[in-house]
């Protein structure tokens, strides 16, 4: 009998048997659950391509052992659209040319979601850039990424404030 962990992934609870404690959340998502939207770039916490939300917070899934995250609530890029309707951030990345090859994009979008949840950036492009500095884009689409994130940061924050009011 191998130890089992329970994870809620994009709203669905999964019980997963872990034969080997070395498995990272990234490898678990990609290799075991075939959720390949989350990308493996450097696998060392330097590029941000593997960014996911764990309990609402963005982290590098390549540096997180799955076995240590029993009970976690995980959101990946596959979990943010509503059916065929793109998440507003996904649509904004298209509208603002926030990518070229697209490899870093899932990580960029999950990181941007985390950044907006954190509520520290305000509507300041420099704070957005600093807050997104853990996500590298080798195509250099940073200008479009910043525009997309800034626009959605302001829209989503405004919507949240309206709900509270």
């Amino acid at each position: 009998m191998h130890p089992c962990i329970s994870l809620t992934i994009n709203g669905v609870q999964r019980v997963i048997e872990l034969a080997d404690p070395r498995v990272t959340l990234l490898d678990l998502l990609r290799e075991r659950l075939h959720l390949t939207g989350t990308k493996k770039g450097c696998d060392r916490g330097q590029c941000g391509a593997c960014t996911i939300l764990v309990d609402g917070r963005r982290i590098n899934s390549c540096l997180a052992l799955a076995v240590s995250h029993d009970g976690a609530d995980i959101t990946t890029i596959e979990g943010i659209a509503r059916g065929e309707e793109l998440h507003p951030l996904q649509a904004a990345f298209i509208a603002h040319d926030g990518f070229q090859c697209g490899f870093c994009t899932p990580g960029q979008i999950m990181s941007a979601l985390g950044l907006i949840n954190e509520g520290q950036a305000g509507g300041d492009a420099e704070r957005i850039r600093e807050g997104m500095s853990g996500n590298l884009c080798r195509c250099g689409a940073y200008a479009g990424i910043t525009e997309a994130v800034l626009e959605q940061h302001n829209k989503l924050t405004e919507a949240k404030e309206k709900r509270v009011a």
């Binding site: 916490g45 540096l63 052992l65 240590s68 704070r127 600093e130 500095s133 853990g134």
Partner: protein
């Protein structure tokens, strides 16, 4: 990555027993340890997961005016804790200048303090490194060493301690609480990390099984909050370790420095407190001549360990600029680029 046994103790006492065996390592977020395990630098037989230990994830104000920070508090949570950031702004700024948002969300206070050097020769298992394999030699000593230590190094090791967080902490007389086989004890953060000497593999005073459970700032550390800055030179704007950094915390009364606290990062195998410089500043005016004299004193014993002579003058200038920024006053809000010499800030000496 070498295989390992995974254990998750329910109490600190169980954790200490589980981690006391040779080849055992504590696992918190794993942002440094997993990286080292993937590179084959660390090859633990057993990981003792401390992330579920109760009571270690709190930021507790103490009755005497100090604060206790549990070892499992995440770097981001500490930096964004409003009361903490107001009382210890240089610590918050240092935290936010380190790593990336993703890493700060995961990485813990204890893990930050105990993180390993980023010396490339330590990371490269094909290179000799006296930390990894005592006695085999140091690849950095005559290698690519422009970022290495200029204070406290030895021929056996010229690595630096990479933490930003530790720099203002050591300036503010932080203490670490440790639980071990012999019970609970406390060590000044300044005494936790060891200089390399002839035995660079021994990096701290911790014994096998010792668990860092909290970092404490003493009463009075918050009295320097109005003039407190951390400044860090990186090789890119963000998401990089310090080439050199400095924490400066002052208390100023009627145009005179009452008390000064100074420490440097990226220059030695430990966060480097500059006590001589502090003493020199006390009682004087906060002006650039005094700042420069203090910086000269702080770096008086500095010596290049290779192609890094430039770091000595850079450290002086960063210290002078950190002092000038601190004297100008803690900003209302941490700058968009925390600790960056490129951030515009009134009172900054951009050519110091």
């Amino acid at each position: 990555m070498k295989s390992f046994e995974y254990v998750r103790p329910a109490s600190v006492a169980e954790a200490i027993i589980a981690a006391s065996q040779p080849g055992a390592a504590y696992l918190a977020a794993g942002t440094n340890l997993l990286d080292l395990m993937k590179a084959g630098v660390c090859r633990p037989h057993r990981l003792v997961d401390v992330t579920r230990l109760p009571g270690l994830d709190r930021i507790e104000p103490l009755a005497d005016g100090g604060v206790r920070i549990g070892a499992l508090v995440r770097n981001a949570d500490l930096a964004h804790d409003t009361a903490f950031a107001r009382a210890y702004p240089a610590v918050a700024e240092a935290l936010l200048s380190g790593a990336s948002a993703q890493l700060r969300n995961a990485a813990t206070v204890g893990g930050n303090v105990l993180q390993r050097t980023r010396c490339a020769y330590f990371y490269d298992v094909a290179s000799p490194c006296n930390k990894r394999e005592p006695g085999i030699g140091c690849g950095a000593r005559h290698g690519e060493n422009r970022l290495h230590a200029v204070l406290g190094w030895s021929d056996a090791c010229i690595a630096t301690h990479p933490s930003d967080f530790c720099v203002p902490l050591v300036a503010l007389d932080a203490v670490v609480e440790i639980e071990g086989a012999g019970g609970r004890r406390e060590v000044r953060l300044e005494d936790l990390h060891l200089l390399p000497g002839a035995a660079p593999a021994v990096e701290t005073v911790l014994a096998p099984g010792d668990l860092l459970t909290a970092v404490r700032l003493p009463a009075g550390a918050n009295s320097l909050s109005r003039h407190a800055r951390y400044l860090k030179v990186r090789e890119r704007t963000s998401y990089a370790f310090a080439v050199v950094s400095a924490a400066a915390c002052l208390s100023i009364d009627r145009g005179r420095i009452v008390e000064a606290r100074l420490a440097l990062g990226g220059v030695a195998a430990k966060p480097w407190r500059a006590r001589d410089a502090e003493a020199m500043l006390a009682g004087g005016a906060p002006n650039s001549a005094n700042f420069r004299r203090a910086a000269d004193a702080a770096l008086a014993d500095a010596k290049a360990s290779g192609d890094n002579e430039f770091k000595i003058e850079l450290a002086r200038r960063i210290m002078v600029r950190a002092l000038a920024l601190a004297a100008a006053g803690t900003p209302e809000r941490i700058p968009a680029l925390p600790a960056s010499p490129f951030a515009t800030q009134s009172g900054a000496l951009l050519d110091a």
